[in-house]
Structures are given as structure tokens and as C-alpha cells.
């Protein structure tokens, strides 16, 4: 099998091993199909798409499982985004201030989590091949919220970065 040990194969194999038993055959299916592809770009595209399917296989646990997965994803992504900023604050920022800014970091954590919770239904709909334009009003509200949340978070981080880096007299 050509390319059996390359990164796309390893990535997909890693994800496929974690598929629920009821879907494990599909993991083997996608790996076998990947083994047929020769072009590196095609292999990456195919492997990334299949990895997504392996991580979030359709219809395995109903709504509760979907909610649980979304919550876990939101928690992990928010934590990964905020952790470097917490590190910077602890390493440099607190040199100038006596108290750790819990409220600020709570906001920085909650916004990406809310972003993912709002984006998840849209992502699932796109992935399932549904027409997201069927309800344009809902889509518009969701997209506006996502854009505003992204702008707010990046702007907030940009504004507070000097404080995280320990610049004196920042606010």
C-alpha cells in the first residue's frame, strides 16, 4: 500500500480507531480508499474529510451525543485559545498588578465557546449536505453573531496584549 505510513494515513487511522463500534467498518472503508490515492494533495484532502467523519460520525448517539460533543469541542477549543494568554499574564502581566484578572479571562474563554456553540449547527448542516439557505433569517442572525464574536474576541485580545506582556501602565 503506497503511502501507508504517511501523515494522512496516520491521521485517518488514528481517528478511525476511535470510531464507535457500530461505525468502525466505515473507518476501515475510508482507510482502504485512501490507500488507493497517489497524489499527495488528493490524499490530504481525502484524509482530512474522512478524519472529520471519523471524529464526528453521523447518527451514532442522537441529540444528547451531539450536544455532548459540541460542549466538549467548545470547552477544549476555548481552553486552548485562552491558555497561552493565561500563561503570558501569569508570566509577565501580574508583575504590574496584584490580582489576577479573572473576569477578563472568563470573557475571553466564554466568547470562543459561544462561537463554537453557535457555529456547530451550521457546520453540521453543511456537513450533512443540507441547504443552509432554507432559513435565511436564522442563517443571517447566526453569521452576524459569529462575525461580531470573532471581531470582539480578536479586538479584545489585541487591546489587552500589552497588559499580558507586562507593559507598565496599560489598561
Amino acid at each position: 500500500m503506497k503511502g501507508a505510513l504517511d501523515l494522512p494515513s496516520r491521521l485517518l487511522a488514528f481517528a478511525a480507531r476511535r470510531m464507535p463500534p457500530s461505525r468502525s467498518e466505515w473507518g476501515a472503508t475510508m482507510l482502504a480508499e485512501l490507500a488507493e490515492l497517489q497524489d499527495p494533495r488528493e490524499r490530504w484532502e481525502f484524509a482530512l474529510g474522512c478524519t472529520w467523519v471519523a471524529v464526528f460520525p453521523p447518527g451514532t448517539g442522537g441529540l444528547l451525543q451531539t450536544m455532548k460533543t459540541t460542549m466538549i469541542t467548545a470547552t477544549l477549543v476555548s481552553t486552548v485559545l485562552v491558555a497561552p494568554l493565561v500563561y503570558l499574564e501569569l508570566r509577565y502581566g501580574t508583575q504590574n498588578y496584584s490580582r489576577f484578572p479573572y473576569a477578563l479571562f472568563t470573557i475571553l474563554w466564554v466568547v470562543p465557546a459561544a462561537f463554537i456553540l453557535a457555529a456547530a449547527p451550521l457546520m453540521r448542516a453543511v456537513r450533512a449536505g443540507k441547504n443552509v439557505l432554507e432559513r435565511p433569517g436564522v442563517l443571517m442572525v447566526r453569521v452576524v453573531f459569529l462575525v461580531l464574536a470573532a471581531l470582539f474576541w480578536t479586538g479584545f485580545v489585541n487591546d489587552q496584549m500589552p497588559c499580558f506582556l507586562g507593559v507598565p501602565n496599560c489598561d
Binding site: 466505515w26 490515492l37 474529510g49 472529520w52 450533512a128
Partner: protein, 109 residues
């Protein structure tokens, strides 16, 4: 509870691709290429079609050395009926595009 909804355009594309030659076993990547859909869209559709009993799956029996057997797909009779019904309900232009649809011959493997 399985909801009976109208299939999405992507699902319809996969159904129609499979229905073009219903007796023919197809590979997942071929379906991606024919429909223009990414693997991340095609495989969930295939999984759902199989769950609904619209898709018959099998593994290759003749396997060239050095690679694993590939998974093969074709529509069940129910799936083919659904595909033909959906194709018939499409706009006339789309119907012309898929005019090649033909029922699977009885007894074909």
C-alpha cells in the same frame, strides 16, 4: 425515530450517481469525483443511505497485492426506487441531465 425528510441536494447527487448504473458496484472516491463532493460530505451520506437500507455494501473479493480490500456500494431496490422517484420530481432540465437512469435488471449481481 427516523425522520422522513426530503434528501438534500448532495444526497440526491450521490443517489443519482449510484442510480446511473445500478448494477455497478462503486467506490467511495469515484463517487466523490463524480458528484464533485468532498469525502467529508460523501461518507456521511453513504452511511445514512446504508442506515436507511437504500445502499447495499460489500467488500472487494479480488484484491491486488499490497493494498486492503475496498468497500463497494450500489443501491438496493428500495434505494433505486427512491432515486428514480426523486429524479422524476426534479425540474425538467435536471431530468434531462439524468435521463440515463435505468432500472437494475433483475438477476444482475
Amino acid at each position: 425515530m427516523q425522520r422522513d425528510r426530503r434528501p438534500s441536494d448532495q444526497t440526491l447527487s450521490v443517489l443519482l450517481a449510484l442510480a446511473e448504473d445500478p448494477a455497478q458496484w462503486r467506490h467511495g472516491y469515484d463517487l466523490c469525483q463524480q458528484t464533485g463532493l468532498k469525502a467529508g460530505s460523501v461518507y456521511p451520506i453513504l452511511i445514512r443511505l446504508a442506515d436507511r437500507g437504500w445502499l447495499e455494501t460489500s467488500w472487494e473479493t479480488t484484491i491486488p497485492a499490497g493494498r486492503p480490500p475496498r468497500h463497494l456500494y450500489r443501491l438496493t431496490h428500495t434505494g433505486l426506487d427512491v432515486a428514480m422517484e426523486l429524479a422524476a420530481n426534479r425540474a425538467p432540465a435536471a431530468r434531462m441531465k439524468h435521463a440515463r437512469l435505468r432500472p437494475r435488471l433483475e438477476g444482475t449481481s
